[in-house]
Amino acid sequence: MTMNLLLIFVAAVLTENAAFTYLLGMCPFISLSKSLRTASGMGAAVIFVITLTALINWPIYHLILVPLGSELIYYIVFIIVIAGTVQLVEMIMEKFFPVLQAAFGIFLPLITVNCTVLAVSLFMVIKEYSYLQSVIYAFGIAVGWIIAIVIVAAINEKLELVGAMPKGMKGPGIIMVISGILALSFLGFSGMV
């Protein structure tokens, strides 16, 4: 059982890396991976929200939607839960943890449109994970996404020092190419699990 959970976690972080294998969460990925600071701030917020929404969405799907026979509307339900959770977290942080709010509060509203969050909820339904497995899986996916964005941001920061780059390549173009090379190296993990 523990072995199983460990496998799910490792698979979610490395072999099924959200950014490099499933190509999820690319919008914030491209726009935020310009500096290491913003990337890690966004990462912390993402880990928190993804795990929390998986915790909430699993019981809603399996204990409410399935018994009622209304799985059809799970897109609507999931996205409302995610938007609501983000709003709630923002309000709680503003009230009780102003320091934390200052650190990654600005990234919270952006998370609603980070497709990794919704994708985790959809995948956990498709893969038919149990409650514990889903939470571990969600956490693993979030960790994998952060690893990806932090590596790309760090490389990109160093690249800023290089002067000679085609004008049109600057920004999103070069981030794509960096991610492509990294994705190639992440393919190496694919035989692991």
Binding site: T21, F29, I76, I79, P166, G168, M169, P172, M176, A183
Partner: protein
């Protein structure tokens, strides 16, 4: 005057404010479903349908939606139409539905739709919103198809399932996987930005 505004709306959508190349919206699905041309067409059609439907609904309701809850209204509108797309794909194109599976649901978080709803549909009338939705949907679709054509040609040697490349050409499998998506889209962004002269500072 009205006519020139319509032309401007269309031109902005399909070239000047190109959703993918210039605004970098909807990258997730542009990368993930562009391994085969048929998937790209299905995804493009789905997104266009949701865009147009959302554009019509939001621009009709724009005067009665309270500002504070507008995000939730967009989300519910978008999610409802995505469910329709998902069902139609499952019923009529089961193979495509299998291969792009969960990414259909992710149309909800495709920032093109949210971005256009917030940036255009709330402040424009039905006709303009409809044109804007169509042109953005078209721009998104042709981008997806362009990326997919390169990847399918190199990765499988086919186009829309027909063998195009000669048999002796080795299949470049990596192009059909995640890294190929990054390389092809990165190169396309480079090319279009060089042509349009848009640069990052």
């Amino acid at each position: 005057m009205a006519e020139s505004k319509s032309i401007k709306t269309i031109m902005d959508g399909i070239w000047r404010d190109h959703p993918v190349f210039s605004m970098l919206l909807g990258i997730c699905s542009a990368l993930a479903v562009s391994n085969k041309v048929e998937n790209a067409i299905a995804m493009g059609a789905g997104v266009t349908f949701v865009l147009v439907a959302t554009g019509v609904i939001i621009s009709l309701l724009r005067k009665i939606i309270p500002r504070q809850v507008r995000m939730i209204v967009y989300m519910i509108t978008i999610a409802s139409f995505v469910i329709i797309v998902d069902r139609v794909l499952k019923a009529y194109f089961p193979e495509i539905s299998d291969s792009i599976g969960p990414y259909v649901g992710l149309i909800i978080t495709n920032c093109i739709i949210m971005g256009r709803a917030e940036g255009f549909y709330v402040s424009n009338n039905l006709g303009q919103s409809f044109l804007d939705a169509l042109s953005n949907g078209f721009a998104y679709t042709y981008t997806l198809v362009a990326v997919a054509a390169v990847r399918e040609l190199l990765g499988f040697g086919t186009l829309l399932g027909f063998q195009v490349m000669p048999e002796f050409m080795p299949k470049w499998v990596v192009m059909s996987m995640a890294p190929g998506a990054f390389f092809v889209l990165g190169t396309l962004i480079w090319i279009t930005r060089t042509i349009s002269g848009q640069t990052e500072d």
